[in-house]
Amino acid sequence: MTTQEIFSRLQSKFEDNDISIETEAVLEPFIVVPSSLIALISEHLCRESDLAFDSLQCLSGVDLSASDETMEIVYHLFSMTHQHDLTLKVIVPKVEPHVPTVEHVWKIANWHEREVYDLYGVVFDGHSDLRRILLPDDWEGHPMRKDYKEPEIYRGMKVPY
């Protein structure tokens, strides 16, 4: 199933909401969904038998530039049953970003969301164990943001080598 078909199905299912598709001038078309809806849409995509996106390939945060006020969270989905793929995007603000978790849909989302929380500071509401995963627990800031300033000193150690 192509992204366009999936998009029209999503539109009919979630009528009142602001779901848009981007196909122009990109290699892989993607669907932009509102952040409040991502859990519902994910569940729909996973459970529906002719969509059956049973595999979350990748979940990544993207911060395009320091001047932007928003960040993106990109979900790469793949269906092992039908072998089609889909890219979902959620746009979140940089200040107090909140996104519902998709952990109950795909278990791997647990660690991926922890990583995005760790590196971008996006809080996934309803996540069972939202802790830093790669950085130390007491690290300050979220380093993958473009406007991140590294601390001078961490626990008495000079940080910039």
Partner: protein, 394 residues
């Protein structure tokens, strides 16, 4: 945001009921068989593991942050350091992603034929080397030291081949965007043929030494079953998924490079009721790797017999400057599907590069897999999902 995050970050230790017989033990980061610097927080009731929580990040080297400040050419040596056991496949995965990004550019002609063959040759040799290490270290985890050294003896031969091919033994930086860095040294193909002729019977010897050993079977068969649904949900790919019985291999199912030209099988786990082997147990995950080495030998033999085409080894291009856009590309690395998500703004540096590492996904299943097993089984699980911490932490 802050309130929630601090509340969850306070939970640093496992809760322990007072006056219970349970105890909390920290396994790692310095432990002989955590394959690097993995720390497991174990809540134990005697030998039984009630809960195991993996803590990662001890080897975090900010690869993704680095990559945002480097040109595409300069990122390739950094991918070597992700999964240092199979660096060729990591190079390849990254280059595939960049090439896919560049394919929108009409000036990019695509990877030359000869380079594709060289990539397959190098990638499959590296797959053998990686699986050999997995076999050896798994033997050592289970307690047999000798298979480890046999595996290293044979892996050494592959490393010598790579040393001739690209001048380095571990961090190859061989596969580049648009091709490969060097052409074959003289006599290399004969060396490869000599190696695979030597190596193929060795696999049977290893099977006799370890795979079919009674004690080894006792330790691994029926332990820590990750069935197909669970593997897919946890994003486990590669041998971990195939060990669960799912015939899924990107080389066959979504052939990239020139894999559609070769004839090879995808080994999958099998249920052997007499032995007690269940789909998705440690033994099946391990066995798939042993079988995959044979398939890799088959592919290499076809490359050698078919003869390499002549021609350039790198695509003609001025600078690696992909057009703006984004791409998520996957390739089949020895440990599973390695994905690279690249966002480009048309400059020489990527805006965002995310590496989806197969080990990261497989390791996240450990917490569920290990519940109710014994300490010795934890070691067996870690070995059987075959993680490399360099790739988990990136």
């Amino acid at each position: 945001m802050l309130a929630q995050s601090t509340a969850s970050e306070e939970r640093k230790f496992l809760e322990l009921k007072p006056f219970s017989d349970e105890m909390v033990v920290s396994m790692g980061p310095q432990h002989p068989s955590t394959h690097g610097v993995l720390r497991l927080e174990l809540r134990l009731d005697g030998e039984i593991v009630r809960e195991a929580i993996p803590h990662i990040g001890y080897l975090h080297r900010c690869f993704e942050k680095h990559a945002e400040n480097l040109s595409y050419q300069q990122i390739v040596p950094f991918t070597d350091r992700m999964d240092y056991i199979a660096a060729m496949n990591q190079n390849w995965g990254f280059c595939l992603a960049v090439e896919e990004l560049m394919s929108a550019d009409p000036k990019f002609a695509g990877v030359p034929e000869r380079a594709e063959y060289l990539r397959v040759l190098a990638g499959e040799l590296n797959r053998i080397a990686s699986h050999l290490l997995a076999f050896g270290t798994y033997g050592m985890d289970i307690g047999a030291f000798t298979p480890f050294l046999y595996a290293f003896r044979d892996r050494e031969k592959i490393l010598l081949l790579f040393e001739k091919l690209c001048g380095a033994r571990l961090t190859y930086n061989y596969i580049r965007v648009g091709g490969v860095s060097r052409d074959l040294p003289p006599g290399f193909l004969d060396d490869v043929r000599e190696f695979i002729d030597y190596f193929e019977p060795k696999i049977d010897e290893y099977n006799a030494l370890l795979t079919n050993n009674k004690i080894f079977l006792e330790r691994t068969v029926g332990v820590a079953i990750m069935d197909e649904a669970m593997a897919i949900s946890y994003g486990a790919t590669g041998p971990n998924l195939r060990g669960a019985g799912r015939k899924w291999d990107l080389r066959k199912d979504e052939p990239y490079s020139i894999y559609d030209r070769f004839d090879f099988d995808i080994p999958v786990g099998e249920e052997i009721p007499e032995a007690g082997a269940v789909l998705g147990d440690c033994w099946n995950r391990y066995k798939v790797r042993m079988d995959e080495m044979k398939e890799s030998v088959k592919i290499i033999r076809q490359v050698l017999d078919g003869g390499l085409p002549d021609g350039p080894i790198v695509a003609a291009m001025k600078a690696i400057r992909p057009p703006a856009g984004e791409v998520f590309s996957r390739s089949e690395a020895p440990r599973g599907e390695l994905g690279f998500y690249i966002v480009s703004d048309g400059s020489v540096k990527p805006v965002r590069l995310k590496a989806k590492s197969p080990c990261f996904c497989a390791l996240s299943a450990l917490q569920e897999l290990s519940r109710g097993l014994m300490i010795a089984d934890i070691i067996a699980i870690i070995g059987s999902i075959d993680i490399v911490m360099g790739e988990v932490d990136r």
